[in-house]
Symmetry: C2
Subunit: 394 residues, 2 copies
């Protein structure tokens, strides 16, 4: 769909519909990582922090991510994992609303967001409550009890998408702080975090941004908040003068206060190359192509593949860049698909999940994937020990 499939290494015989979990290896990433390893770490040693700008990259590469989510330069920083960034946002949010004790989220949130909130509440011991409602009950649950609303924009199982602007406006009207988890949005579809006016956005970079296994997370903070809030996880690299080694913490006067410790230089190098794959490509073009792929997949599956039920919203406007189907024996069926080279994944209890990333998936891939899906389901191949014994593609 987009003329950039050659910017990624895709193994022969694989149709990769799991870029929503881990994006593929970008062309040039291995070479860049080797260069950083041999010619920066190996040759410059400790001097790499300065001469190779390792210290600046969590900001400069973050700005490249920011461009894909509508965050102006200087709003975003890379580091840690998404769980940690959720915690930073949430801990800051509750400090911004000391008189309120309720954090609202929904059952469509990725579990780690809920777990981090539980842990924070347990630790604070100040009587906070995590209130978790169904996704379509969020709007009605927003009220003046809330310190914060914390939601994942696109549901990791079904692809259902929240209305970012409307929910943020409702949260703000009720006086609550808004936190968006963009794990399944960044690089998948247009997001305008500045227009939303949300205080915090967080996300990971190994899914649609193709940063590789263990790529760092990002946090985007509205500048009026970034410049004033007491940051949770006040590490030395968030200090105004980290190398002055002062006795007490003084936050940097910017997004830098959301830095914590030493950045993962090798992982950031991989991400930086991965972002090169967007050259000349707009997120709007990706979205258009993604919708076309998803619609084609749904139509073909519903016409040809027996036994599965659409779990994702039928309306493309309410769906991210993935399509999920319910099927009771979905785990085994997905294993059968994977053994044929069609890589999607499974989420309990019965979700077969397929991600569509038009940077490297085209219409012919989708048609071929449905061919395999049809064969697996019509042949009940997951029930066929001889077939399954042939093992997976590895």
């Amino acid at each position: 769909m987009l003329p950039v499939k050659d910017r990624f290494h895709l193994p022969e015989g694989v149709i990769y519909l799991d870029g929503n979990s881990l994006g593929p290896l970008p062309v040039g990433a291995a070479e860049r990582i080797e260069d950083v390893t041999r010619n920066q770490w190996g040759a410059h040693l400790i001097r790499g922090w300065n001469v190779d700008d390792w210290m600046g990259q969590p900001l400069s590469v973050a700005d490249r991510v920011g461009k894909l989510i509508g965050a102006p330069a200087g709003w975003t920083v890379l580091g840690d994992t998404l769980s940690i960034k959720v915690y930073q946002a949430l801990a800051s949010a509750v400090m911004l609303r000391p008189d309120r004790k309720v954090i609202l989220s929904d059952t469509g949130n990725f579990p780690t967001d809920l777990y981090m909130a539980e842990g924070l509440i347990n630790q604070l011991a100040q009587g906070h409550e995590l209130r978790v409602v169904e996704p379509d009950a969020v709007a009605d649950a927003i009220n003046e009890e809330l310190a914060a609303v914390m939601l994942t924009h696109v549901d990791y199982r079904t692809g259902r998408m929240h209305d970012m602007d409307a929910i943020t406006a409702a949260a703000h009207a009720a006086g609550a702080v808004m936190i968006w988890d963009l794990a399944h949005s960044a690089g998948a579809l247009p997001v305008d975090i500045q227009a939303s006016q949300a205080e915090f956005a967080v996300g990971c970079t190994y899914k649609y941004l193709n940063g590789g296994p263990g790529a760092p997370a990002f946090i985007t903070v509205r500048p009026d908040i970034a410049e004033t809030v007491a940051p949770a996880l006040s590490g030395w690299l968030g200090h105004d003068a980290p190398f002055a080694f002062e006795r007490s913490y003084r936050p940097a006067p910017s997004i830098e206060r959301f830095r914590v410790g030493t950045p993962p230089v090798l992982q950031i190098a991989a991400l930086d190359v991965a972002l090169d794959a967007w050259e000349g490509i707009t997120i709007e073009a990706v979205r258009t192509a993604s919708i076309a792929l998803c619609e084609h997949f749904i139509a073909e599956v519903e016409a040809r593949v027996p036994g599965v039920t659409l779990a994702s919203p039928r309306d493309a406007a309410q769906r991210g860049s993935q399509v999920s189907f319910h099927f009771e024996q979905g785990y085994a069926a997905m294993q059968a698909l994977i053994s044929r080279g069609v890589i999607g994944d499974f989420r309990a209890p019965d979700i077969m999940r397929f991600g569509f990333t038009p940077l490297y998936v085209d219409k012919a891939d989708v048609t071929a994937a449905v061919d395999h899906f049809e064969a697996v389901m019509k042949g009940r191949l997951w029930d066929n020990p001889a077939f399954m014994a042939r093992g997976r593609v590895t």
Copy 2:
């Protein structure tokens, strides 16, 4: 001193006395990282989490670190940064002692440890106090007010070393939880964390363990604590069943509850190779060699180099694997040394710091380093614009 210098890439003309800040590139690391990048991420894609054991490595590689600090298998996990691991330990410690409000540390602690404690206290808003005393006042400051004692074992500036067993015993006698930061100890000298009975140890792996820029931190937790404490930063990979995607957090019944988010696969690959450099080498042999190098350095500098004053303990038994000297123009003098290929570093206000890592530094290197140091100081080369304009080795 030790027959393993060929296990590291060291640039021609460089004497590297800054492995206490960032260890050099181990032989084989670039090749392993490339293999993980191309043949695991590139070829296996999402399946790498299983087929390449990316998910298990934070435990299996951690056990290799554990061997160097006296931690039995299953006591240690890798992840995040040292700042985050300090926070996890400290947040757990204060939850273990809800009736006590004082955290004791010292002025020799690395600032991020103090900053993370300040941030935690601010966030908890429960009247905790961070009490920071001089290093030699720690023993007398231990009393029954303390929830936790949090110290860095070896001072990052001077190399002064605390008596781990005695302080831990005193902390425990007073009912306090003990947290040791081993940033400048792990891989530098023998530590027996099990014998110390400390509840928590944390550290980084890019210094004496040579894991590379941004290598993950580790946390070691005494099993009775790891199996019972409510973990701060309760991320999904610390859940008892992360892939069940349950609504509520249930901690794993082990050290795994101190995992948080997705592990940095590329960085862990580098660390794993770096640990191969220890094959056939004991930490006791490294310590013996390190003391010999440090004693030689001190003797030669004091005999030949004017104007500097020893900042480290003279008694090797009270010193880690580094030697520091005070010199008012230390920053400029260190730049002059670096420009001659002798890489140490500078810590405010006036500390010239030299780390000795016998895995790749030998006696001839130390003698040669002192030759340069003598030339720089006798020639006041940092005051010589023509010399300094020749620029640094890069």
